[in-house]
Subunit: 148 residues, 2 copies
Amino acid sequence: MTHEQLKLENQLCFPLYASSRLIVRLYTPVLEPLGLTYTKYIVMLALWEKDNIGLKDLGDILFLDSGTLTPLLKKLEVQGLVSRERNLEDERNINIKLTKQGIQLKEAAKNIPEKIGSCINMSPEDLKELHRLLHIILENNKESKCPN
Amino acid sequence: MTHEQLKLENQLCFPLYASSRLIVRLYTPVLEPLGLTYTKYIVMLALWEKDNIGLKDLGDILFLDSGTLTPLLKKLEVQGLVSRERNLEDERNINIKLTKQGIQLKEAAKNIPEKIGSCINMSPEDLKELHRLLHIILENNKESKCPN
DNA sequence: AATAAATAAATTGAATACAATTAAATTGCA
DNA sequence: TGCAATTTAATTGTATTCAATTTATTTATT
């Protein structure tokens, strides 16, 4: 009745889930002065890289759906960082654009990755390898589903 | 103004966060027949491994605090899977115990890791290496904090 | 012993995630 | 063209997370 496979130690999901929360939690105090939460931050990262993008495409990049993004983008709009407007060519789509303020925020954010990096205890080689493996798992499992 | 460091591609946190949600999402349909959510599931994993444990110690294992665990354990209690009782030797503590039903559920859960494993597209070597790195990051950053 | 400090659980409130549903717009086909 | 199927956002409801506060209990100090 030991069921080695059920030991927490032997799970992949658990350290993934726990370390994700651990790392995201590091961002909270760093983002707070910018008025951003972690989810808002990755939305801004995506927009700084590709401005004027549809909600759907933004969701594909971030693995988030409209249920999460719609209220989030409305908040960013209230903060004056993005604008939301219907695409005139296809009114089902909504275009997200950075405002001048949203563009400017990038300067204030530029040191964040380094700041966070300095708080994570891990060798550069391990970090690089972890990064590589996480991208593999993301890429390979975009569409994965499990039957019940 | 490119700020390579701000590219999503170059973040560690983002693939960690995204793949964590991706993998946790795989569990939903598999756990549903057992009446478990993912968080309930890892609580049960911890208890199957070490029964009769304090909420604080359970939280230390799972990296969760009473704000998350208290309502969760109350639900598991309503489901008849665990009992919650004050520790008579130190009434600040609460002891969590599996009920007979909670113990029995382990049998129904024993095939879940294999089932999930078969849905994750990744080579065994990469899985093993990822597992190793995630444990390092967890172990090394339990106490990490970032100044704002 | 009396009180201050520390510890643990519970509570509160804000911010996600996400499945499922609804509503509007567009596309494809009979 | 007209309608069914598809696509996209928005909405709804449930379930976390987590910081911050409160309450109760215990430990440590004076």
